[in-house]
């Protein structure tokens, strides 16, 4: 049983540059994290594309959670269940009240994915280190190869709630039948048009058809990232998602990519930074849609629509 329940909440990073975002408490800066390392109630989690990167050096005290070997169910194409999640977090020294700060390689691509999965389990206080590993490293901040020795703690078994922020294929099909459904395709332009079925320079994961879901706007995920690896200021993000693409924060939105990882990053941008209330990540994404029988697909540069395909 845990004794610390309510009193130990860690105040958000008050950096003025985060204040403009819809949910500024979801980001911490490298300066903030450096000052708060080791504080009771805070656990830093590294989540990378490369399964060995943590072992080469990580933020002192950070633990590792791998998207593939820890968060995915080893058999079914799904995320782990409540029991496995409780065991995973308990072993990492995380309780339900812990403030989690996630960071990782590739502009926090996988860290944002982990954050989205943690949100499926309703973990309340989970934040992202703005700029991720690259920014921490560029600033010459400390790394260690020491793995923290952790005592097992109690994390409750919580049933995963997929209804709010996760979309299945049937949800997307039903969504397409609503009036002007709002979808964001965050893959590369070549994947969007159907010129190719996988990411440039990435392994072919197998999709039989190329193209995009009818009506989807193309906004490659990395457009949300600034030069220093952090997120762009809110006005720049709005210029892309709202002004250029016409996406409306007040409408239900579905984001997708190839397996749901890049779209987790965009989910974070739309929901936490731009305040879209109802955003779902369709994690089946193109590796499901591009293989499914008789689902509508549009090729080429225009979003198209179900009726006009």
């Amino acid at each position: 049983m845990t004794a610390q329940t309510t009193s130990s909440r860690i105040a958000p990073d008050p950096s003025p540059r985060f204040a403009e975002y819809a949910h500024p408490e979801r980001l911490v800066s490298t300066e903030w994290l450096a000052e708060h390392l080791g504080q009771p109630g805070l656990v830093v989690v590294e989540s990378d594309e490369d399964v060995l990167l943590y072992e080469t050096g990580h933020i002192p005290g950070a633990v590792k959670i791998d998207w593939h070997t820890d968060l995915n169910d080893p058999v079914t194409r799904d995320y782990i269940d409540g029991e496995a999640f409780a065991k995973l977090l308990g072993e990492r020294g995380i309780t339900r009240d812990t403030t989690i700060v996630l960071y990782g390689d590739k502009n926090n691509w996988w860290a944002a994915y982990a954050l989205w999965v943690f949100t499926l389990f309703g973990h309340e206080d989970v934040r992202l280190l703005d700029g991720g590993r690259a920014k921490w490293e560029a600033e010459g901040r400390a790394y260690t190869t020491d793995v923290p020795e952790l005592a097992l703690v109690d994390y409750p078994v919580v049933e995963r709630d997929d209804s709010r922020i996760r979309a299945y294929k049937d949800d997307v099909l039903a969504f397409l039948r609503t009036e002007s459904p709002q979808l964001v395709d965050v893959r590369s332009p070549e994947e969007y048009t159907g010129a190719r079925t996988h990411m440039p320079a990435y392994p072919e994961e197998g999709a039989l058809r190329g193209g995009h879901i009818p009506g989807a706007q193309s906004v490659p995920w990395a457009r949300a990232v600034a030069e220093d690896g952090g997120f762009k200021p809110r006005t720049e993000l709005e210029a892309i998602y709202a002004q250029e693409k016409g996406l409306d924060a007040g409408r239900a939105t579905v984001a997708y990519c190839r397996i749901g990882e890049r779209s987790s990053h965009t989910w974070f941008v739309l929901h936490h930074l731009l305040g879209f209330d109802d955003v779902k990540n369709y994690d089946g994404s193109w590796t499901e849609w591009g293989n499914a029988v008789r689902v509508p697909i549009v090729t080429g540069e225009q979003p198209g629509s179900v009726s006009s395909r």
């Binding site: 490369d50 060995l52 990167l53 072992e55 080469t56 791998d66 070997t69 320079a201 990435y202 392994p203």
Partner: protein
């Protein structure tokens, strides 16, 4: 894990991985990553001579050479040199490259071509690293073998 059909150095690598638990296998892979030899200067100066491996998630390049270029030795008996490069921030991919360089460099071409295509699955890394990531290593082996096949056929 059976190693009787593998060249001795590659068999030794499989035995090393077999001898340790799953957690230590990652550590061992990290050691191979750190042990990947630097590219010879003729390739650092001419990266266009290296072949990219798109099956890997990170930029990795492989190149092979046949020794004894005077053709006095039958092609399949000629010694193959294997070189690879991968960035430091991609240690898993570097580890794969390190294993293949360690196990394949210096083999006669015929023996290298006889390495089973499923060799990478015998390292027992599927669970610790994930099958998807392991595909990158198989892609690297496939490209090395294809290069050697082309060079010995010439």
């Amino acid at each position: 894990m059976s190693t009787t059909d593998l060249p001795p150095k590659l068999a030794a690598v499989v035995d090393d991985f077999d001898a340790v638990g799953e957690r230590e296998r990652l550590q061992l892979l990290l050691e191979f990553s750190e042990g990947l030899p630097e590219l010879p200067e003729r390739y650092t100066q001419h990266p266009e001579l290296l072949e990219p491996v798109p099956e890997c998630q990170s930029p990795v390049f492989v190149v092979t050479e046949l020794e004894d270029a005077d053709h006095a030795t039958p092609p399949l008996a000629r010694i193959v040199r294997v070189f690879a490069s991968a960035p430091r921030e991609a240690p898993t991919t570097r580890g794969f490259a390190g294993i293949l360089c360690e196990g394949l460099d210096g083999l006669p071409a015929g023996e290298l071509l006889a390495v089973p295509d499923d060799f990478c699955d015998r390292l027992g890394l599927g669970r610790a690293v994930s099958p998807l990531r392991m595909r990158g290593m198989s892609g690297m082996l496939g490209r090395i073998k294809r290069q050697v096949r082309e060079r010995t056929a010439a």
